[in-house]
């Protein structure tokens, strides 16, 4: 391996200035130019046994596509990525690369791994206009879809979109049933515009439509259409990718005061319903002067940065451990801090306080300290007896994680669940207790990541394709 000193640093990502971007919803990271991308790609060692690929849940051939970028052959690079990844423009933006491909890069120990995510983003952004069929199959025409082998996917998050992309490329007709009026799952209703522009999600969906994937909105699995209905309508297999959308609450006093919201509601009002453009759009968004966001993950970062952009004077992230234990991607945490989000660490909420009209006025917090590491390896937060204080806020957003969405599960009692209420699927195939019904993504694992959901979709789709095409 090359000596530390000889390795050039990563090419910086051009960003919107923090003082400007905290007032708009435009994308924060602006993307590499062609020159920057080629320069970054040329740092790649082209290892004999590339470790980056095995760190990727959908096994993108990172080495291969980076080599193509280094010589400026973006078209080949795109083809290589699309072979395994149906949503590269999304993954290039939101994957926790530091733990995945980049974390496994041979250069990671030097602190200068190849910026694989940024390159992936560059390649896919450059290739939007490409013919979808050619990009995947290397042919000019899309494969003839076999209507007799149709497959249904419930939910339109990244897991289902991956199933659709994989099967369509193999000539199998997929219909996606989405409960909301927009497609994309969390990519659309959860992750904000400034991190993942909705136009990117649209483009990826359009790409799938061109490949013959059918999308139906306002279709609630278990209500508008049940799994039995789908088999009766001739679907040969069903993939369930309904996510884990049910928000968690703290169950402490005052939680129903006006001004206390789940991150899902706050973000849905802003992202899906475009509430930041109220009254041009009809859905109002709660505005706060002093906002507290509870939690330390990506969702908390997104909610805090959204509150800033909606004009809050002060936004504090309240977390019971310290900055170092926060599960959010480092980059997102750093971006939030640059934009002026404050951290209120080692604090645990005890109660929400309000005025006589039922409006939130503050939060009583318990001061914490870090104790011994627990099973998860993180230090356990412990109360410092008697040390409580009130943080004055007029808007609180709870980003405490989510549970399994119950609608489809309630309607399908024969679907075996884990003791936590998620769908019990086979580790390798995702097949559930109902034959030819598969599940993947957050509804199986609990809140995870986009690319984990895609990995699950890909595994299930492989099995579905093999069975339907009689290769098993």
């Amino acid at each position: 391996m090359a000596k530390k000193s000889k390795i050039r640093p990563r090419v910086d990502m051009p960003m919107q200035d923090p003082t400007v971007r905290c007032t708009n919803f435009r994308e924060v990271a602006l993307g590499y130019s062609r020159e920057q991308a080629m320069l970054e790609a040329s740092r790649c060692l082209q290892c004999k046994t590339p470790t980056c690929q095995s760190g990727c849940p959908v096994e993108v051939d990172c080495k291969g596509f980076i080599r193509a970028v280094a010589r400026g052959d973006i078209e080949t690079a795109y083809g290589i990525i699309k072979e395994t990844n149906s949503l590269p423009a999304v993954c290039g933006r939101v994957c926790p690369q530091e733990n995945q491909c980049e974390g496994h890069c041979k250069l990671a120990p030097t602190g200068k791994p190849i910026a694989i995510g940024r390159l992936e983003r560059f390649v896919s952004d450059s290739y939007y206009a490409k013919n979808p069929c050619d990009a995947i199959t290397g042919r000019d025409d899309c494969p003839m879809l076999r209507e007799d082998l149709k497959v249904a996917a419930i939910g339109s998050g990244p897991s289902s979109l991956t199933v659709a992309g994989y099967l369509a490329a193999r000539g199998i007709k997929v219909t996606v049933f989405e409960a909301l009026h927009e497609l994309g799952g969390v990519l659309t209703y959860g992750i904000p515009e400034f991190r993942l522009p909705k136009s990117i999600v649209h483009t990826e969906v359009e790409f799938l439509k061109k490949q013959g994937v059918e999308f139906l909105t306002n279709q609630v699995g278990g209500m508008t259409v049940t799994i039995d209905d789908l088999f009766a309508q001739g679907y040969k297999a069903v993939f369930i990718g309904v996510g884990a959308g049910l928000p968690k609450f703290l169950n402490i006093p005052g939680e129903s005061l006006i001004g206390v919201y789940s991150a899902n509601e706050f973000l849905t009002r802003v992202n899906l319903m475009k509430g930041y453009r109220f009254p041009e759009y009809d859905t109002p968004v709660p505005l706060g002067k002093h906002v507290a966001v509870f939690g330390g993950g990506n969702v908390a970062m997104d909610a805090a940065r959204t509150a800033l952009r909606l004009g809050a004077e002060k936004v504090s992230i309240v977390y019971r451990r310290t900055k170092n234990e926060m599960p959010a991607r480092r980059e997102e945490l750093e971006h939030a801090l640059e934009e002026g989000v404050c951290l209120e660490c080692l604090a645990q909420p005890l109660a929400f306080e309000g005025d006589d009209a039922g409006n939130l006025t503050g939060i009583r917090l318990q001061r914490m300290e870090l104790g011994e590491p627990d099973e998860s390896g993180r230090c356990r937060p412990c109360c410092i007896e008697g040390e409580t204080y009130v943080l004055p806020v007029d808007l609180a957003v709870l980003a405490l994680g989510t549970g399994p969405n119950p609608v489809l599960l309630n309607a399908t009692p024969e679907l075996k669940q884990t003791k936590w209420g998620y769908i019990d699927g086979d580790d390798q195939t995702g097949e559930t207790s109902i034959p030819m019904v598969f599940a993947g993504g957050d509804i199986v694992t609990g809140s995870a990541t986009v690319v984990m959901a895609m990995g699950a979709g890909r595994r299930a789709a492989k099995v579905i394709a093999r069975r339907l095409l009689g290769e098993e």
């Binding site: 609630v220 509601e265 759009y281 609608v407």
Partner: protein, 278 residues
């Protein structure tokens, strides 16, 4: 799916209308107590409305709405033959329809429409159905004829005494409960103060009482938590755990407060709409 408006009828001109909408899948699946979420324009809000009736053969559902703010005002502008952009459903848990003997269904205002579907369900499972409906005055009373076609009794109360009992539905309900010890269940659907009053009226009689709650909703499929209500001290989501709950355990004060969360913005949005559209 075009969601075409097959028929529209003004029940109280400019204020309450009934629409029959083509929605074959929803029509076959909907049970009493279910609701739909609809959206009218690409910039539009998602609003929940109860399914007041279905005709699975014709593939239609009926909604009855009161013009309150921007979205319902826009709905009121639509005419027969227009399409509704998004109709999502059926949503919510259907009403529990047990055979209990006599069921009293109490309805107020537009709530009578929602109550009508529930009452029909109780009639179908063989319960004796007594409907008690109320409004401010005679011309604001809805669905009396429809209810009369299958209910065993229809009792009416108006605030101004222009028709039926002068006073509140709860007075009629109290009298009825005092006379008849065999009422198995009471259902109350209407404005929150009315549902609270129904709960208080039946409490001393210890009769199972169900109310259909109408908190603010966004998605209607259990993902946002906007619709949370406190029932028996526990946080429940009206869109997936309800909308019907045990009336004696509901925190009505909280529901009322939370319904006002966005009052200023809603008012502003309605005013702007009215200025532009007369």
């Amino acid at each position: 799916m075009p969601n075409t408006i097959v028929k529209k009828k003004g029940l109280i001109p400019g204020r309450v209308s009934e629409m029959i909408i083509s929605a074959p899948e929803i029509a076959t699946k909907a049970r009493p107590g279910n609701f739909v979420v609809l959206r009218l324009s690409p910039q539009g809000e998602r609003i929940p409305l109860t399914i007041a009736d279905t005709d699975p053969q014709a593939g239609t559902i009926t909604i009855v709405y009161m013009v309150l703010g921007k979205t319902t005002a826009m709905l009121e502008k639509l005419v027969q033959g227009d399409d509704i952009l998004d109709v999502c459903g059926p949503l919510g848990k259907p009403t529990r329809l047990d055979k209990v003997g006599t069921v009293i269904c109490v309805g107020g205002g537009t709530g009578i429409a929602a109550m009508h579907h529930i009452a029909k369900g109780h009639h179908r499972v063989g319960n004796r159905v007594v409907a008690i409906i109320g409004a401010r005055s005679k011309d604001l009373l809805l669905f009396e004829k429809e209810l009369a076609s299958f209910c065993d009794e229809v009792l009416v109360a108006t605030d101004d005494g222009s028709y039926g009992h002068k006073g509140f539905v709860t007075e009629v309900l109290a009298k009825r409960l005092a006379q008849d010890a065999h009422v198995g269940e009471v259902v109350g659907v209407g404005p929150v103060p009315m549902m609270r009053a129904v709960a208080e009226t039946t409490r001393p009689f210890k009769v199972r009482t169900i109310v259909s709650l109408n908190p603010i909703m966004v998605d209607g499929i259990g993902m946002c938590g906007a619709c949370r209500v406190t029932v028996g001290g526990k946080t429940r989501f009206a869109c997936v755990d309800g909308p019907e709950f045990d009336a004696h355990s509901v925190d009505f004060d909280e529901l009322m407060r939370r319904l006002g969360s966005f009052r200023e913005q809603e008012q502003a949005s309605y005013n702007t709409y009215c200025e532009c559209h007369g």
